[in-house]
Symmetry: C2
Subunit: 151 residues, 2 copies
């Protein structure tokens, strides 16, 4: 009979596996559209949440600052995103999705959503609700405790 530690590790393993395989569906779909997953993630963030300071993008997608610069550069080259200086704080740049970026996502998003729905179709609607509640709780607590030097 497994103790608390074994159970926690087991949870980590099945969490990772589930995430990997659902993500595999999503990434395969994204690459079909000529973006890599990071670029898509940033674009979607800007689409749904509006213009963001680069740093906040990094916080939300867990990326180092050097990589943010690189990814935003790529998206600017593809004309899906533009940098806009912040008038209040001249250290800050906002990344903002362009018309072209919006059009791209409007085109790609419905199919992408369907791909994700297929990927998680192994759970019933009720099971999804349960999983969402548990994962939300887990994610919030893991994020909180990460900041503490406790580990």
């Amino acid at each position: 009979m497994p103790n608390e530690r074994d159970e926690s590790l087991h949870l980590f393993v099945v969490l990772s596996r589930a995430c990997e395989w659902v993500t595999a569906h999503a990434h395969r779909d994204i690459r079909r559209h000529g973006l890599n997953p990071t670029e898509y993630g940033v674009l979607e963030l800007l689409y749904h949440k509006g213009p963001q300071p680069l740093q906040q993008i990094g916080e939300k997608i867990l990326m180092t600052s050097g990589n943010i610069t690189y990814v935003i550069d790529k998206l600017e080259q593809k004309q899906l995103v533009v940098r806009k200086p912040c008038p209040e704080d001249r250290r800050v740049s906002f990344a903002e999705i362009t018309e072209r970026g919006v059009a791209f996502l409007n085109d790609a998003f419905p199919a992408h959503q369907q791909v994700v729905a297929n990927a998680v179709a192994g759970l019933t609607s009720e099971e999804k609700r349960q999983a969402i509640a548990l994962l939300k709780k887990l994610g919030i607590s893991a994020k909180e405790s990460f900041k503490l030097p406790a580990d």
Copy 2:
């Protein structure tokens, strides 16, 4: 009121978030030991499952063949792993953990397990059991459906 697609996407988001933050704990711990997460993942696989053909490592950790070669090279340089040719099939190489690799994991694993336990401590034991059951089901079905060209 959210429909099935929205709910699925929401599940994907909270799954990704939870996985990212729990993983953040684990990775921070791993880097303290001078390995990167991929190297640690391979080493742990070999530790728990015994010698593996390189390709099977790639299947289990979702890695391309070029990267397997690279990672096993690194682990061989660190003398934590050795390649062993397969006598039955000369195309195949097994990767096998060394004594040194075993000693390394024996030293690192208990603390690592504790870090993971802390990371998921936001759920009660009962919630962990529920989450494990749901995630196991989700992972298996997502893996299965990935092979189909359905997406």
